[in-house]
């Protein structure tokens, strides 16, 4: 079916796009307007939009110069990274996340408008917690390459370790405090790409507050964020030795088995099945290898699960100074140092791992762990397994096999002989022609359902919500947001099981579509999400505020029903709202005399549409 798309959307975007922070300067105006010609209005063109790094020449001045000034300006004084580090053992407070929506001041107004509006908005939808008027303008002022570089260079927002005495708002429970910090970081951190990747890593290397203390989740989140742009092997190492994962999948306190017992298999099995290689051997394009009879080939045997389990024995909490204790198990919790080994409790028998790699008898816990993790890291199935899931989390549930293969090849070798280079992999995912073709071709199939947490953050960021709580500690002001996503099946790092909120292998009933997030979508969830959209679109989030009244920026625009529809269409739908949908919204709101209500109703109609819910 041939569809027409709005082509006049940018008329609504001229000048200050909208909402708070618009006053950042004229540069955003210039950037926005300058790029206005490249949004694919017909959906057929393949016009170059500078999406895949064609703007590299502009990078030199843009990226490095901007990253300093831009991010420094957003911190509002609380210091985005000045606090604790992931390895710290203290319980420092107050150095938490930044506050307020990140208002990057238009990055020096590099004259060249390197990125189209559609590319900017879609990339921000893929790679951040949702576009804002400011972030759109900022990205448009750069090339995509420069923006990625800027994000790579932005230091992590560090969640503050939780104090022994929690704020009363957390009711003696560390989880709400941790969740608040997580929400605040997602919504306001300047390191959006890093945090978005960390968020996805957290849905791969799942740890849940269902059984692990919120205290331990804070350093775990920080570890994922710190490692987001390093190497996959680094992520594996740091996750393996994190107390949070140790607690969740029981590598911690798993000692050499006594007679009549066996080593706990939880971590060894799920490390392979869920985090690394999967159940069956994969081709580089992510498809299953098959034997002569056409059957998938198992990746490992039960005996190998047991061998890895034996290999991973002997780990316990480090002492308060981060050293190895002498006792095992050491039950004095230290969530802030990597686990430490007590050699006497490490199984030193010979084990045979994948690909006939042998762990010789008599090894140390750390030495054997290295052999085991290297063994898995170097397994041929790991790159496609990891890359496909990262693509699904960031860009599309249904990547072509060619797309998976292209990214896998970068994972295998970043061009300099390095395997697992995260920056290279992320760049490959986000700049791939398949990720970017939707910038100009609105018929491009793909995308993924916005999972509840990302649905909430995207709407809140687009609508300019800010917290109304006075929280000098930065530990609890955002915690109430979990009550909006909990009925929909999500809270930060609170999955029901190690299989994440939704199963990676999920296939939509009645289709062949492997679309993981749809595991949370059903007729009950849809209705609950309608209620959430109602709250979001009416400015009714408890503990948060935004101005959607007739005197607000959006309310003023709403004097013209078409114009407000197009403005919201840019913020939420990349300026690619189908014409039939656009007409319904304009018709629905035109009769309303309250321009604030026009904003609310139009927003609701967008948020509840499948066109929006499926980010594409």
């Amino acid at each position: 079916m041939k569809r027409l798309y709005q082509s006049t959307l940018l008329s609504a975007v001229s000048g200050c796009l909208l909402l708070a922070g618009c006053g950042a300067g004229g540069s955003s105006t210039a950037a926005t307007v300058a790029s206005s010609t490249s949004s694919g209005s017909t959906g057929t063109g393949t016009t170059s939009t500078g999406s895949t790094g064609s703007g590299t020449t502009a990078t030199g001045t843009g990226s490095t110069g901007t990253s300093t000034s831009g991010t420094a300006g957003t911190g509002t004084g609380s210091g985005s990274s000045g606090g604790t580090t992931t390895s710290g053992t203290g319980t420092t407070t107050g150095t938490g996340t930044t506050t307020g929506t990140g208002t990057t001041t238009g990055s020096t107004g590099t004259a060249s408008s390197a990125t189209s509006l559609a590319t900017a908005t879609r990339l921000l939808d893929q790679a951040t917690f949702g576009p804002t008027s400011d972030s759109i303008a900022h990205l448009q002022s750069l090339s995509t390459t420069a923006w990625l570089q800027e994000q790579f260079n932005t230091p992590p927002t560090v969640l503050a370790n939780l104090p022994a005495t929690l704020p009363t708002q957390c009711t003696n429970n560390a989880t709400p405090c941790f969740e608040s910090e997580a929400w605040q970081t997602m919504l306001t951190g300047p390191d959006q790409l890093r945090q978005r990747v960390a968020f996805s890593l957290g849905e791969l290397f799942v740890v849940s507050t269902q059984s692990v203390s919120g205290y331990a989740l804070v350093p775990y989140w920080n570890t994922l964020a710190a490692d987001a742009f390093t190497n996959w092997r680094t992520v594996m190492q740091d996750v393996a030795l994190s107390p949070a994962m140790g607690l969740y999948l029981n590598m911690i306190q798993s000692g050499k088995p006594a007679a009549g017992q066996h080593a706990n298999e939880n971590w060894s099995r799920e490390l392979m099945q869920l985090f690394s290689i999967g159940l069956v051997k994969l081709n580089t394009d992510g498809t299953a290898q098959v034997d002569a009879s056409g059957n998938p080939i198992p990746s490992y045997t039960e005996a190998q699960v047991e061998a890895f389990a034996d290999t991973f024995t002997g780990w316990t909490y480090a002492t308060s100074t981060g050293t190895a204790p002498t006792n095992f198990p050491n039950n004095t919790a230290n969530y802030y140092s990597p686990m430490a080994a007590v050699e006497k409790y490490h199984d030193t028998t010979t084990k045979t791992l994948l690909d006939n790699v042998v762990v010789n008898a008599g090894g140390t816990a750390a030495g054997d762990l290295k052999i085991a993790l290297d063994n898995i890291f170097n397994d041929a199935s790991l790159p496609p397994f990891v890359c496909k899931q990262l693509i699904q989390h960031l860009v599309t549930s249904t990547p072509s096999t060619a797309y998976v293969r292209r990214v896998t090849n970068v994972f295998i070798n970043n061009g300099s002989g390095v395997r697992g280079d995260m920056k290279a992999v992320l760049t490959a995912i986000l700049t791939d022609t398949e990720a970017r073709s939707g910038d100009t071709n609105t018929s491009q199939d793909g995308g993924h359902l916005r999972e509840p947490m990302l649905f909430l953050t995207a709407a809140m960021r687009a609508l300019g919500y800010s917290s109304t709580n006075i929280d000098a500690t930065n530990l609890w002001a955002y915690t109430g947001l979990s009550s909006y996503t909990s009925p929909l099946g999500e809270e930060p790092m609170r999955s029901a099981s190690v299989f994440n909120f939704y199963p990676p292998e999920y296939v939509i009933p009645g289709t062949q579509l492997n679309a993981p997030e749809f595991g949370l979508e059903n007729t009950a969830a849809v209705t609950l999400r309608l209620s959430l959209a109602n709250a979001l679109s009416t400015g009714s989030l408890n503990g948060f505020k935004t101005d959607l009244s007739k005197t607000s920026t959006l309310g003023v625009i709403a004097a013209d029903p078409a114009k407000i529809t197009d403005t919201l269409g840019v913020l939420f739908m990349h300026g690619q709202m189908p014409t039939d949908m656009r007409s319904v919204i304009i018709n629905a709101i035109s009769g309303l005399s309250d321009y604030g209500q026009r904003v609310r109703v139009a927003t609701y109609l967008i948020l509840t549409s499948s066109q929006y819910k499926v980010m594409h």
């Binding site: 306190q253 998938p296 009550s483 609170r494 009645g510 059903n522 309608l530 408890n542």
Partner: protein, 458 residues
């Protein structure tokens, strides 16, 4: 402030289910309290009503500590093999009709139902494609279900009773496909209802389930006053457009059904009043089963005479601290199922509703080195209802011996003696699937010859 969510304490916590996170949402903000439903006494209930209720124990319940040998020799052997995981014999709940076995101490309501003949035990059931022995398993002479010992695969294979988890339909969905033309004419909701989110179990080839969030049947909230109807109409019109995009179309379909079912459920329950049966609080499974009982109460308003319900409870993956964790979970199951059975008596349908458990797998008989057990295979299950021939054990309890004739390896991962498809087929035949339909609903049943049915249902 119109947010329907605003009343929830941010710190009220609930337990998500594996893949089923909408369950246990009874405390979710803004969800209407129970109490809006009733049996609508003025409406005649369908005379020939039957319902199956699946209770899924996510994570793999340790059946070895659920049904325990109780005779002197059997208990001594159990205790020796289980080591630190062995339950004290004096705490076990006895079964006068099954004197060689006893139940976990946290199952008093189940004990009562077994002893009163309203519940049965089905021993050592698991995923199988053909009868399997240790010898032919180790020799590779049987076709095994794929990915044994893997959670998602074994969950799915219990739900779809197929050779692998990748088959797109579950056995409840296939029953709905098969019986849809002969039952529930004029129904306003599908035959299958999940109160625990989307699961493979519920999906048919031509049918989809309705999902219900427990305690929340009144539809979405709207803060636009007189304009709500117009807003809703516009929103509903948006999902009728053909976007040409696969995932958008898929979501359009789910969303359109959501609007339809939300109205049907709200209409059917609008004038109802509460059940008298008291369900336990702070028990996610109880909230789900209470919701199911209340929907059964309005079956005539919904126009259904055959229903399959799905609910579940998680956290059975007890690789560590098993003793305390499992005791808590089994206590919740027992109390919830006990109350649910009582509710079916209140509604006069206790002979027409059969409740049964499923789980990924059992766990290793052998304990691991930190207070837990690992993924097993064959497991023991409960079937509850007035039509159940209770106070009995069906199937064959395994010989508890490491490396023994029922062990798939050396840690006590029991090879099932009864296939999950035989268990499912028994339930389905009671529900109304006839012999000529069995092969369609259960394509793998043929691997078991004429043994398509156990005897636990009258």
């Amino acid at each position: 402030m119109t947010s329907s969510h605003s009343k929830q304490s941010a710190t009220s916590r609930r337990s998500f289910l594996r893949y089923a996170s909408l369950a246990a949402a009874g405390n979710a903000a803004g969800l209407r309290p129970f109490g809006m439903l009733n049996a609508l006494a003025s409406t005649a209930a369908p005379a020939d009503y039957r319902a199956l209720v699946c209770v899924f124990l996510y994570g793999g319940n340790d059946a070895n500590n659920t049904v325990i040998p109780f005779d002197t020799k059997g208990y001594a052997n159990y205790s020796s093999l289980r080591g630190p995981l062995a339950l004290d014999q004096g705490t076990l709940l006895t079964l006068p009709g099954l004197q060689n076995y006893a139940l976990h101490p946290s199952l008093p309501e189940i004990q009562k139902l077994v002893n009163s003949g309203e519940a049965a035990i089905v021993a050592n059931v698991g995923t199988l494609l053909q009868p399997t022995t240790r010898a032919n398993y180790l020799a590779g002479k049987v076709t095994n279900p794929s990915n044994l010992f893997s959670h998602p695969d074994q969950q799915e294979e219990w739900q779809n009773v197929s050779p692998s988890g990748s088959t797109a339909t579950g056995w409840a969905g296939r029953i709905a496909d098969t019986l849809g033309s002969s039952h529930n004419s004029g129904a306003s909701i599908p035959m299958v209802t999940s109160v625990a989110g989307d699961t493979l179990f519920c999906n048919g080839a031509g049918t989809t389930p309705v999902a219900v969030s427990p305690g929340n049947l009144t539809g979405a909230s709207c803060s636009e006053g007189a304009f709500c109807a117009t807003r809703s109409a516009a929103a509903q019109s948006l999902v009728t457009f053909n976007s040409g995009l696969s995932l958008v179309q898929a979501d359009n379909g789910i969303t359109a059904n959501a609007y339809k079912y939300a109205k049907a459920l709200a209409d059917a329950t609008a004038s109802a009043s509460p059940l008298k049966t008291v369900f336990p609080t702070a028990n996610g499974l109880a909230a789900q089963l209470q919701q199911i009982a209340q929907l059964i109460a309005v079956r005539s308003a919904l126009g259904v005479d055959r229903q399959i319900y799905f609910c579940g409870i998680g956290n059975f993956d007890t690789h560590s601290t098993q003793l305390t964790m499992q005791a808590t979970l089994l206590g919740q199951i027992s109390a919830a199922i006990g109350a649910f059975y009582q509710a079916t008596q209140e509604l006069g349908v206790s002979n027409q509703v059969t409740t049964f458990t499923m789980s990924d797998f059992a766990r290793t008989m052998q304990p691991n080195s930190n207070g837990g057990s690992d993924h097993g295979w064959g497991s023991h299950h409960f079937v509850v209802g007035g039509s159940v021939l209770g106070n009995a054990m069906y199937g064959t309890y395994p010989m508890l011996a490491f490396g023994g004739p029922d062990d798939s390896g050396s840690n006590g991962r029991w090879i099932p003696s009864t296939a999950s498809v035989q268990y499912a087929s028994t339930l389905a035949q009671w529900f109304g699937v006839n012999a000529s339909q069995l092969a369609t609903v259960f394509p793998t049943l043929g691997g078991f010859g004429t043994n398509t049915k156990l005897d636990f249902l009258g």
